[in-house]
């Protein structure tokens, strides 16, 4: 069976400030099926965000290739929704306007999509906030708006780069539960970059553990926990075993001492 996303022997080298090249991603082979939830887990600077940008076509690999939906990614892949750690909302637009910007940037008339945008905003618990401005919202609410913006055009692929990294612990847990619900109802392929082990295990079908720079795949783990997972799945011995195993990997790599 053909995977939805195929990265084959992907390498990415960057020129550093002093001119010497740095290898950020080193021969990564990764196949991801449609509707799969995959986390890229690794320490800061391990190239997981670079890998995400390669899949998005925002940067091109130095060698190797990335395919999405059977086609080589040669330019920014537009059939996608992206969520970054920073919500990147436009201060001069309302919540609704920030969601609909997705269509405007594509040169489409946003008006036919307004009703659906309102539904989507309500579905993430922001009913009544449609005409508020970003600076009137909390960090968690802002990130919900940015998730709505990534979903409104119904892309098959959702790329998330530490989307909950800037949120407080309680908000973060709630966002994880909500994201799982959104993913289960929409069946999108999700690539989720994080450096939180429990977040990766909680959300993912598979966790891709990466080494420190240069980023290689250390191990790909399948997480066999039944869905939908409730927050207290973290208290189960199975969950603890996964976390313990990943911890052990990071210790072996010298990431955790």
């Amino acid at each position: 069976m053909n995977a939805f996303i195929r990265a084959d022997k992907v390498c990415k080298t960057f020129a550093t400030r002093d001119g010497s090249p740095t290898l950020a991603v080193d021969h990564v082979d990764l196949h991801i099926d449609g509707a799969e939830f995959v986390s890229l887990l690794g320490p800061s600077g391990c190239g997981k965000s670079t890998l995400l940008s390669l899949v998005a076509g925002l940067i091109q690999p130095s060698s190797g290739g990335v395919e999405v939906g059977g086609a080589q990614v040669k330019a920014p892949y537009t059939n996608v929704g992206i969520v970054f750690q920073s919500d990147l909302l436009l201060d001069w637009r309302t919540v609704l306007g920030n969601v609909l910007v997705q269509f405007e940037m594509r040169g489409e008339d946003p008006r036919p999509h307004e009703a659906r945008a309102r539904q989507l905003i309500a579905s993430v618990g922001l009913a009544g906030f449609e005409s508020k401005y970003p600076w009137e919202l909390s960090g968690g609410m802002r990130q919900r708006v940015s998730i709505c913006r990534a979903l409104i055009h119904e892309p098959p692929l959702l790329l998330m780069d530490e989307p909950f990294g800037a949120l407080d612990a309680l908000t973060r847990e709630q966002m994880q539960v909500d994201l799982q619900r959104i993913w289960q109802s929409s069946r999108k392929t999700v690539i989720f970059v994080t450096h939180s082990i429990s977040e990766a295990v909680f959300l993912s079908d598979r966790v891709v553990v990466m080494t420190p720079r240069p980023g290689k795949i250390r191990e790909v783990m399948r997480i066999d926990l039944p869905r939908p997972r409730a927050i207290d799945v973290r208290d189960t011995p199975e969950f603890a075993a996964y976390v313990r195993h990943i911890n052990k990997l990071f210790q072996e790599m010298g990431v955790i001492h």
């Binding site: 940008s53 996608v80 970054f84 990147l88 436009l90 594509r106």
Partner: protein, 260 residues
């Protein structure tokens, strides 16, 4: 009554109060030390002089205001597109930027005599000085504003398939407005300086001319009256720009809370 308008009223009362205080201290000081009027007239005398000379002051105020406005508007019309060009095309930027900075290295007052040779004694040389002095902060702030965008935002726009012109018009430009208005406010004050400088160097009209006349005749009261009128013009001008800013970018952090 909303707290916002309450705040605004309070801030108005405070500024009125502070001006009143200055006038009272000024008046008492002049009386107490018996300062002669040719050195420092009392505020009341200045006020009377404004009323007395209102026709002269009015005509010359109109003349100077026209100069300021023309120089300021010309500066906007040239500076903003130029800044856009510099940001959009790095090659063009490298070509334009150094000579542009060089024009600012020359003291503008030193150019005023040259402008008189070029443009004569009419409105033109004064507008040229006002333009030249107001132009620079607008270019610089517009460039900074247009460049100052989160690189993630640009990546996001690319993933939405947005062409460069759309990124520029929908993201960079609105994002730059607060900075552009910062430049406009500085420029609005500098345009007044430019107009006055132009009038000092050679003019038979405008408040700069009235100032020189009053100074030559040791008419200190008229001199002060002109200064007061000039300050009022400059302040109205500054607040007009701020009002436009408030209307255009109500979303910006600088507009959310009004410092009292």
């Amino acid at each position: 009554m909303s707290t916002a308008s309450n705040e605004r009223l309070k801030s108005f009362l405070w500024s009125t109060g502070s001006f009143l205080l200055i006038f009272v201290v000024w008046d008492l000081g002049v009386r107490a030390f018996k300062v002669p009027a040719y050195l420092l007239p009392s505020p009341l005398a200045v006020f009377v002089a404004i009323i007395e000379h209102w026709r002269t002051l009015g005509i010359h105020t109109l003349w100077t205001t026209g100069t300021i406005l023309a120089g300021f508007l010309a500066a906007i019309v040239v500076a903003v597109p130029l800044a856009m060009l510099i940001v959009v095309s790095p090659t063009l930027g490298r070509l334009i930027y150094p000579p542009m900075v060089a024009t600012q290295a020359i003291p503008k007052i030193a150019l005023a005599p040259l402008f008189i040779v070029w443009f004569g004694f009419g409105l033109m040389p004064k507008v040229a000085v006002a333009f030249l002095i107001a132009f620079f902060p607008i270019v610089i702030d517009t460039i900074v504003g247009l460049r100052n965008i989160d690189p993630g935002m640009i990546q996001l726009a690319r993933s939405m398939g947005a062409p460069p012109h759309r990124v520029f018009l929908r993201l960079r430009l609105p994002n730059a407005l607060p900075m552009i208005f910062g430049g406009l406010k500085v420029a609005s004050a500098l345009a007044v300086v430019g107009a006055l400088t132009g009038e000092f160097v050679g003019s038979d009209k405008g408040l700069g001319y009235v100032l020189l006349q009053a100074s030559g005749n040791l008419n200190t009261t008229l001199l002060f009256a002109t200064l007061v009128v000039l300050s009022v013009v400059a302040m109205i001008f500054f607040y007009a720009v701020e009002l436009i800013e408030r209307i255009l970018i109500p979303w910006h952090v600088s507009q959310r809370a009004h410092p009292s």
